[in-house]
């Protein structure tokens, strides 16, 4: 009894710390250069990028290749489906915090369908029924609340991010509803499953990841550009659903394209 109390108290402390960290974000908005990149920590970021790249070359890349070669396709799909289902409770909480009731309802329905028809999350029955994944995170919630992107960050073991998204990840990790509901051993298993799912993604998108990390002249600058553009696209897309916001992508090469 006592042990349980202290562990939930520890969790509450973690939540409070994370929320506080998120609140501090407003103070460090930073300025964005005309090319859309705000990177005052470039030197540190570059060293972390070198570390992450080395880690990918020596550990993550080979491990994902081994995973890809050894694990049969159906098992890979089950891992992906299960990991996705474990994200759903957190997604629903974030949907509600964003006042995005449509996605909250879709994700709640996904959870219900996959727990029942999907035999406890083994199959993604919801997608087959026309309820595709609408994943989100606390970084997006902060964006909806009007918190700016903040400077670009590269995080050890995790890769490209921004100050806002990094704070969002901390909050998501600390407040994940799944870890509140299931016993510790199962929570550990859930995290192990998510890690396997990340390996699977690294293997699935190997060609893209490797072209950025190993075939580009400046893998740091290329990864930063691609991450920021894709993240802004995701956030714009989910907010307006109009496809507006693409005008910022527009480069007019017919007018002076190299005006600095």
């Amino acid at each position: 009894m006592c042990q349980m109390k202290s562990s939930s108290a520890a969790r509450l402390t973690r939540v409070a710390a994370a929320v506080l960290a998120a609140g501090l974000l407003g103070a460090c908005a930073g300025t964005t250069a005309p090319d859309g990149i705000n990177d005052p920590f470039e030197n540190t970021n570059r060293s972390i990028h070198a570390f992450n790249r080395g880690l990918d070359r020596s550990v993550v890349g080979p491990a994902s290749k081994g995973f890809g070669a050894v694990v049969p396709e159906p098992a890979k799909r089950v891992i992906g489906n299960f990991a996705n289902m474990l994200d759903l409770p957190g997604d629903i909480v974030n949907n509600i915090l964003q006042l995005n009731i449509d996605d909250a309802a879709t994700n709640a329905l996904r959870l219900g369908v996959n727990l029942t028809m999907g035999v406890g999350g083994i199959f993604d029955a919801a997608t087959a029924l026309g309820l595709p994944s609408q994943s989100t995170d606390f970084g997006e919630t902060l964006h909806v609340w009007g918190v700016g992107e903040g400077p670009y960050l590269e995080i050890p073991f995790a890769g490209p991010s921004t100050v806002r998204d990094a704070a969002g990840t901390l909050v998501d990790l600390a407040t994940n509803p799944v870890t509140f509901v299931v016993p510790e051993r199962e929570a550990f298993a859930a995290n192990a499953l998510k890690l396997l799912s990340r390996l699977r993604d690294r293997d699935r998108f190997a060609a893209t990841v490797e072209s950025i990390l190993y075939d580009s002249a400046d893998s740091y600058a290329q990864a930063r550009l691609i991450f920021l553009q894709n993240r802004r696209f995701q956030l714009g897309q989910t907010d307006a659903a109009t496809g507006a916001g693409t005008e910022t992508d527009f480069i007019d090469p017919y007018e002076d394209p190299y005006a600095e």
């Binding site: 002249a217 400046d218 005008e247 992508d249 527009f250 480069i251 090469p253 017919y254 190299y258």
Partner: protein, 202 residues
């Protein structure tokens, strides 16, 4: 094919209308550009689909892709834009040498990724005028992947309807190539001739 008939019918209607009412011409000319842009992307997509499902060897497919790229894309403009400020100081000979080398480089770079497209398809869903260009919106359906969005920016400022940028899920080809070419130039101390020579083997 249905698109070609559509375009012809549209063109005929336009010719008739412009003969009858000159005042309405500018608006209709703009509307035609959206159609032209859409049909350009339709043709590009049809050719891409034909190449990836041709069963040819990779090197033959890369050759076909380079031809497709030079036919449907405004390569000189894309190359100059990717080169950035250096293009201003370059001589005419350097610019044309760079454009040629860039065309081969980009065809190989993107062409090599075509394997991922085998068995997939791209569908054009919408086209609209934005500022001085037309944006054509399409969706790519690849085997075992969630569908993703591909946007094509098309302009006729070169005198022909050609695309000058492709944006995949927000990731912009022109911006990406500017970063890449800029980094390659930096590695060579800004030596454009060296870059042109090296691009041929990249």
């Amino acid at each position: 094919m249905p698109n070609d008939t559509h375009l012809t019918r549209r063109g005929l209607a336009l010719a008739l209308a412009s003969g009858l009412a000159l005042a309405g011409l500018p608006r209709m000319a703009a509307a035609l550009t959206v159609d032209q842009a859409r049909s350009l992307v339709d043709k590009t997509v049809a050719d891409i689909n034909a190449i990836i499902n041709s069963g040819k060897s990779e090197s033959a497919m890369l050759g076909d892709f380079e031809k497709l790229f030079s036919r449907y894309a405004d390569v000189p403009t894309i190359a100059r834009s990717a080169l950035g400020p250096t293009a201003r100081e370059a001589s005419k000979a350097q610019l044309s040498g760079f454009t040629k080398a860039f065309q081969g480089y980009i065809s190989r770079k993107y062409g090599r990724r075509f394997r991922e497209f085998v068995g997939g398809r791209i569908e054009v869903s919408d086209a609209r005028e934005v500022k001085s260009y037309v944006e054509v919106i399409s969706t790519a359906f690849l085997q075992g992947e969630s569908p993703f969005e591909v946007r094509w920016h098309v302009s006729d400022k070169s005198g022909k309807s050609l695309f000058f940028n492709i944006i995949i899920e927000g990731v912009n080809m022109l911006a990406s190539e500017r970063t890449e070419i800029g980094a390659l130039l930096d590695q060579r101390g800004g030596d454009l001739d060296q870059l042109i020579a090296d691009l041929k083997s990249l």
